[in-house]
Assembly symmetry: C2
Homo-oligomer: 366 residues x 2
């Protein structure tokens, strides 16, 4: 499989939804497979909240597979022999694209807290610029789960002539009060870390690792299902020899501590805040007085809408709201509720049913 | 209604379940109504995680009603004309009973982090000593919700001859992996506040208020239901004039910020950790190799087991597990699933259905 990782500069000023501007930006992009001569085999995959451009294959440093490695590759669900798959780190992120850790050439200091608010609409706009750069005329499919699914849906709304299919997986047309509340607790934890310095920790040569860790521990609980946690950990006590901290008793505590710690090493706190704010703010129907049907009227792409039965963060009702609006707006769509053991995170894991649904959606043209 | 608030000293050494000892302790106790001459009208109500002895009536300082004021009082569900209601702050708490903020007479310093681990069994044992002090021979009923419901259940197990009825409301025979995980995140947030000082913040003349605040914000989400939050807050933006913090956008964020801040003023961080650890550790079946039926065999009290339909923290499956074990153990019990708008917190709020169930359980003897 041909694979390519590249940081691509965009020099033109970018106007963001919040009204602020970026004087140019860079996107860290990874592609898999090759664009055919008809340029009609391109698939864009959009990462979720803490994902990045590395969707497929081994990561050189951490040796972690890409976030959708189970579904993309040679003879996999999205077969890279047939499709040219494009993946990128979104702006505001912390894996190579322009974000809060980027050093400003003028001041030689990082953006830090001055990085402007970004939105799903902004990401789709930058992905559109990337599309032009790659000389792709129309995406065969844009796909993603969770916040990635929101981008797929926004693509269908923002650029109806540039996308044939949108796979909107474990997503929502707008998140709930409870989701916002959970995001706000995570942000509060990060902001109140004494090393946060109002977002300018890099300038202070420090990092709010404690806050990031606890925020991720909370996030992790919401990505898994109760039944999955019960199966994996139950109420088993942690072996004292392998305890990561004296203060914990149970295996599940040890696991969360470990996962949180690991995350805090690699992720950026300002990005965490920006990404969750983008998730909170996603609400394409807002411009249509909350009418999702009106908002969907100009969509030309076919939609695949999928939810997972164990997902309590973005339960099936969210996906069904998209499907019902799609039916009323008379756009082509199908909805499937999939079995998934991993709660909200199920969208990251292969299953025959999931793979078949996505593959047949991608490969069958009407 | 006759009401009495008193701090009662117990001089004897108390051996705790963890193996450690307290050289005497004090209980902050509030009673409502009067003990009759037969001494058969006493009701013990046990507080949940962050509750205290003040169950009924106006609080003098904060002007807050007691936590079960909606259900206890003159002509209320638990009628104080008929019943002598006893409420106390549990040891390890921070509302007057011996706990981490208690100053040790020897050292003139607070217990702080040296306060020993307490358990539901320990609380029931101290409540038993209180019962003797008050010259009550048998409780007509022990009742509580959440962690309070666990105490009611433990009473039926620990002192089968001293309790006629146990009202086990919104409780669980043991909490799940997910519950433990949520508690651990809250503890992690508190422990990592730079003012926590390994639990000895009083000695350092400070308080981990930021940690307590964020931990409570998280707790608050789990006590409410998603539908209740959606109804109350939806996705409405907070009026900029009444924002508690510049960084928030939504009403739900403002509400949580406010609630968390308020809580952090009055609660103690070590108590937070102790109380959640007691909740994690509650597992009466453990001594019976996990067999709840065996554990229930010696119960003589009648049980009322109640859950609320909107409670996602302690869903009905937990209550049903108690009911099924009770049936198999051939003890008298009834289970009811109640409507409740407030998620897990529903046990605190009056409804006709809830009141009728509890009143008829208390007043009807077979």
């Amino acid at each position: 499989m041909k694979s390519n990782t590249k940081k691509i500069p965009f020099d033109k000023q970018l106007k963001l939804e919040c009204g602020k501007k970026l004087q140019g930006f860079e996107l860290m992009v990874e592609t898999y497979g090759e664009l055919n001569s008809n340029k009609d085999n391109a698939v864009l995959v959009c990462h979720a909240f803490s994902g990045n451009h590395h969707a497929v294959g081994e990561e050189k440093e951490a040796q972690k597979p890409g976030w959708w490695d189970q579904l993309i590759g040679l003879e996999k669900t999205i077969d890279t022999q047939k499709y040219f798959v494009v993946s990128l780190n979104n702006i505001g992120g912390c894996h190579g694209s322009t974000g809060p850790t980027t050093i400003l050439s003028k001041t030689k200091k990082p953006f830090g807290s001055s990085f402007p608010e970004v939105s799903v609409v902004d990401w789709v706009n930058t992905q559109y610029l990337l599309m032009n750069y790659l000389k792709i005329e129309c995406w065969e499919m844009v796909a993603g789960g969770s916040l990635g699914g929101m981008q797929a849906l926004q693509w269908a709304i923002s650029y109806p002539n540039k996308i044939k299919k949108a796979a909107v997986i474990a997503a929502s047309p707008r998140i709930s009060s409870q989701n916002i509340a959970l995001n706000e607790v995570a942000r509060e934890i990060i902001r109140k870390d004494e090393n946060f310095h109002d977002g300018n920790y890099m300038q202070n040569n420090t990092k709010p690792k404690k806050g990031l860790k606890a925020a991720r521990m909370l996030g992790h609980i919401t990505y898994l299902s109760e039944s999955n946690m019960s199966k994996r950990f139950g109420r088993r006590l942690q072996d004292p020899i392998t305890k990561v901290d004296e203060k914990i008793n149970y295996e599940v505590e040890n696991y969360l501590q470990y996962k949180g710690e690991q995350f805090s090493e690699t992720f950026d706190a300002n990005s965490y805040i920006l990404m969750t704010k983008a998730m909170d703010g996603f609400d394409p129907a807002k411009k249509f007085n909350g009418d999702l049907v009106k908002c969907f009227k100009k969509i030309k792409a076919r939609l695949l809408i999928a939810s997972f039965n164990s997902d309590w963060l973005f339960p099936k009702e969210y996906s069904m709201e998209i499907q019902i609006a799609a039916i009323k707006a008379e756009i082509k769509s199908s909805y499937i509720e999939l079995e998934g053991d991993y709660g909200h995170d199920s969208f990251l894991y292969y299953s025959d049913e999931y793979s078949t649904a996505l593959k047949s959606f991608l490969e069958n043209n009407e």
